[in-house]
């Protein structure tokens, strides 16, 4: 244990020695280096000097290498002949320095110390290369760059770029790419007396132009802020942020913002800070030209459209309007259109220079979901039973049922909708609307759900108001096939147990047949109740077809001698009305081409 403590103490001592050495080295650099350098870094770059090694070893190319910050400056006879970045890439040479140098800048350059790098060249390079937005040249005395450490908090609304080991100045052109900073043109941080300070230029949406400056310790005297050598204000407080409105001032993209921190004291040290900042972007920056593509541009709802920004001019922020109330600020958003319609889409693309809006009218066409049509048919014979108190029930029951189903789209599957195939009430003509003899498409044979209300017997149904009217036996009915999958007979005895096997012959695609095993009677509201149970309307929850039939009779019939019945082809016994629940795709065959049919009767009342 004691041995471990000893080793730990030794380790701590080494670390402390290293720290002291580093600090001493930094202080030494601050005192001895008087070079001004130009620095650029992006948030994607990591501070590294590994690229310097090859250059340093090439005495021909770089006879007198000096590392300043993250730049390698090669000199010959005290003159800069080339500058390399930290990756070993040549940034420019002495020849480059002469290109495009304006007198103004040269003049300014000449006022500085000898080894200053001409910044405008670097700006050009950035424009053509990695940076294509706002460009800022930044110059600073090295002595104030490498002498400190970060300790104050980042001013609110400002972004800190880099890590704390990086004591160099840098700037972050991508910093304003996020929505909340979309109008920030640039943010610059630097260390001033070991504290973080920063400069930010701002254009707001209304065209206002500002410079925001955050300072740590300002020094002994107020910071002086110059725009093109014109004093625009002072900063008198330490650790403050101050904004200067330059909207009314004439400035250009080559204007220089200069910050002078002069003076010295025991507390803040001596020396001064002069910052020259080219305020705005290069001349090439202009309003973006917005444009976009979408895919797909038509289809059924819900339609998910992917939009792609194809704007030019390097927009940094985007405002999309999809035409249905939906908006987005993403560059390449997706949007789901849930309702059918034709939608106009607009994109406003923005950058530091301005914005541009493109509107594409009727760009997206969304159609209603593909519907599957189902058909209901109903027929009612009046004067149903002479003993009943309301002889109109023979018409009311199918009428109510038909009207409640017709026009309904499913609550579970809204793409399945019901339409009317036809309704025939009190048909004195004795037409055989269920017979193969009549192939009209509006008849029961071509409906998915067919209801007959009238007289019946164990082998068929009777049309017309007279009992002697036309009879239609089940063998002449056309169920199944393409249609008539669900059939309900409000008619006596059609599903008598004794004749169960007779009806099995109709199961050539029929799912369910509902009816009476015995005599049946009509009661008020049965058609409504039956339809409501099937669709889940009113106080009813959606109910499977067989259960709806049983419950309808159970709730309306108080005669114990009446028995309902149903037959179904397996596995369709639990079918719901399409759109309102699951139903089997087709009855299965039990073997050798035969269906398995199940028959069941039930008491409406037993007492």
């Amino acid at each position: 244990m004691e041995h471990m403590i000893t080793r730990l103490s030794l380790f701590r001592g080494i670390i402390a020695l290293l720290i002291v050495t580093c600090i001493m080295s930094a202080v030494s650099a601050a005192n001895t280096t008087n070079a001004t350098y130009f620095s650029e870094i992006t948030s994607k770059d990591k501070l590294s000097t590994t690229g310097f090694e090859a250059i340093q070893q090439n005495q021909t190319e770089c006879p007198s290498p000096t590392i300043t910050g993250r730049l390698l400056i090669c000199r010959s006879n005290e003159s800069v002949i080339a500058v390399y970045d930290r990756h070993g890439r040549k940034i420019f040479t002495a020849e480059d320095l002469k290109k495009g140098a304006s007198e103004n800048v040269l003049s300014q350059f000449s006022t500085h110390v000898n080894e200053r790098v001409y910044g405008s060249n670097l700006v050009e390079r950035a424009i053509n290369g990695q940076f294509d937005q706002v460009k800022i040249t930044f110059e600073q005395y090295l002595s104030y760059i490498e002498t400190g450490y970060w300790d104050p908090p980042t001013p609110a609304g400002w972004a800190f770029i880099g890590d704390e080991e990086d004591t160099s100045m840098y700037w972050e052109p991508d910093d304003w790419s996020s929505g909340s900073h979309s109008d920030y043109h640039a943010a610059v941080f630097f260390s001033h007396y070991g504290h973080r300070s920063g400069i930010q230029t701002t254009l707001d949406a209304s065209g206002g132009q500002y410079i925001r400056i955050a300072v740590g310790p300002k020094g002994d005297n107020p910071l002086e802020i110059f725009l093109d050598d014109i004093l625009i204000g002072n900063i008198t407080d330490n650790f403050s942020i101050q904004q200067f409105d330059i909207s009314s001032r004439s400035w250009t993209t080559t204007s220089i913002l200069k910050i002078v921190a002069a003076g010295g004291s025991e507390e803040w040290g001596t020396g001064s800070l002069v910052e020259n900042i080219s305020l705005m972007a290069s001349d090439s920056l202009s309003d973006p030209v917005s444009m976009f593509d979408g895919n797909p541009l038509f289809g059924n709802a819900p339609l998910n459209v992917s939009f792609t920004d194809t704007s030019t001019g390097s927009p940094t922020s985007w405002n999309w309007s999809f035409g249905d109330g939906g908006i987005s600020t993403l560059q390449n958003p997706s949007h789901v259109y849930t309702m059918a319609g034709t939608y106009t889409v607009s994109l406003t693309a923005m950058n530091a220079a301005g914005s541009n809006t493109t509107v594409r009218s009727g760009y997206v066409n969304v159609t209603a979901p593909a519907q599957t049509a189902f058909y209901v048919y109903a027929e009612g014979v009046g004067m149903y039973h002479g003993t009943q108190n309301d002889l109109s029930l023979g018409n009311q029951t199918p009428g109510h049922f038909y009207n409640l189903i017709n026009g309904q789209c499913g609550s579970v599957d809204t793409e399945k909708c019901w339409y009317g195939r036809g309704i025939y009430l009190d048909d004195n003509a004795g037409s055989v609307h269920w017979s193969a003899a009549e192939q009209a498409s509006s008849y029961a044979d071509n409906a998915d759900f067919s209801v007959f209300v009238g007289h019946g017997w164990n082998n068929g149904i009777v049309f017309g108001t007279q009992n002697s009217a036309l009879e239609l036996s089940r063998s002449n009915m056309q169920f199944g096939g393409n249609r008539a999958k669900w059939v309900t007979f409000f008619a006596c005895d059609v599903l008598n147990q004794s004749s169960q096997s007779n009806w099995e012959s109709v199961f050539n695609g029929v799912h369910i047949v509902n009816g009476f095993d015995t005599h049946g009677l009509l009661y008020e509201g049965q058609g409504i109740k039956y339809a409501q149970k099937l669709t889940g309307d009113g106080a009813e929850d959606r109910t499977a077809i067989r259960d709806a039939w049983r419950e309808t009779l159970q709730e309306t019939i108080n005669k114990e001698y009446i028995k309902g019945a149903y037959m179904w082809a397996n596995p369709c016994g639990s079918d719901y009305l399409p759109g309102f629940g699951d139903y089997c795709s087709a009855p299965t065959k039990g073997g050798q081409g035969d269906y398995d049919i199940t028959w069941r009767n039930f008491n409406c009342t037993i007492s």
Binding site: H385, T387, H519, D541, T556
Partner: protein, 331 residues
């Protein structure tokens, strides 16, 4: 000796005669309340014409004893229950339905279904309750088959215990009996039918004032392993409002003649309707319909025949209250 024999014989005849007279005077018990020992073989001749909405022609044969015809009868007013969603939730909980998505309420009922819609309760505002397990009721499932069912007596006990434990068995409910509910499966080309589903329906009956309440629905279906898979009740609350005059038996017979027999309609066209039983009862409405009072009815029970072959049972109700009574009750 011969004189004593004659006197004894006379006494026996007198006693028998008196006893018979007294018995004739006493009302009989339900369901033949009002019947006498006086056998009536009253036969209606063929009824033809627009009796039942068609060209019907059939004979009504009354093959029962002549019932007594009281002048008045106790009438009960229906007490409309007040049901709330809370009541419906409580009903659902009795059937272990706690995980439901929605409560639907309409004029007639409150419905609660499980989220998967496979179980449901309904609480009817006219006085009724319903529970169903759709995966079990009327649905072949391998559980509800004969070998899994309890005995009939066990089923009665299971049903009654189930109802009592949950407070669902009202006073006055009497065990009615059981029936076996079955579903038959057959192949289209085969005459062979097999039972693929079966449960036991236990039903209860109701009497008021010593008379049967027709139309009462109170039933529990007991499935495999004694599970309760369906329950339905149409059970209203009543309060007596006194005695009211009713129509005579003879006038109700006349009404029956005019009204016809509902079972006589249809293609089968019975040639004869037999009335084998006539009695007074009450008739309660089905649960879907409102009811002001419990209707006294004359019940005509028999069979529809064609060529002396039964076409099925017949049961016709003729309202018994006089028009004056109805008017009085409605006011």
């Amino acid at each position: 000796m011969k004189k004593d024999y004659v006197i004894g014989l006379c006494l026996i005849l007198v006693i028998a005669g008196i006893s018979g007279f007294v018995l004739w005077l006493q009302p009989s018990s339900n369901p033949q309340k009002g019947l006498t020992n006086d056998s009536l073989q009253e036969q209606f001749q063929s009824i033809s014409g627009e009796v039942a909405g068609g060209s019907l022609s059939y004979k009504i044969e009354v093959n029962t004893k002549k019932p007594n015809s009281p002048e008045k009868i106790e009438v009960y007013k229906t007490v409309q229950p007040k049901v709330t969603k809370t009541d419906a939730i409580a009903l659902a909980q009795k059937f272990n339905i706690t995980d439901f998505a929605d409560i639907k309420e309409g004029d007639e009922k409150i419905t609660i279904s499980t989220k998967d819609m496979r179980k449901r309760v309904m609480l009817f505002k006219n006085g009724g309750k319903y529970y169903v397990d759709y995966d079990r009721s009327d649905t072949p499932n391998g559980i509800d088959i004969a070998e899994n069912l309890p005995s009939d007596e066990e089923a009665k006990k299971i049903a009654t215990l189930f109802l009592k434990e949950r407070g669902l068995l009202p006073d006055g409910a009497k065990m009615g009996g059981v029936t076996h509910e079955k579903a038959y499966k057959s192949n289209k080309s085969s005459e062979l039918k097999t039972v693929v589903w079966e449960d036991i329906l236990v039903y209860y009956t109701r009497e008021l004032n010593g008379m049967k309440v027709e139309g009462t629905q109170f039933e529990v279906e007991v499935g495999g392993h004694g599970d309760i898979i369906r329950f339905f009740s149409n059970w209203k609350e009543y309060e007596s409002v006194g005695e009211y005059p009713i129509k005579t038996r003879d006038s109700s017979v006349e009404t029956l003649k005019q009204k016809g027999i509902s079972a006589a309609a249809g293609p089968d066209k019975p040639d004869t309707i037999t009335i084998d039983e006539i009695y007074l009862a009450y008739e309660t409405n089905a649960v879907a319909y409102k009811e002001e009072y419990l209707e006294p009815v004359w019940v005509f029970k028999g069979e529809a025949l064609k060529n002396r072959t039964s076409l099925g049972p017949v049961k016709e109700f003729v309202p018994a209250l006089t028009d004056a009574s109805k008017k009085s009750l409605s006011t």
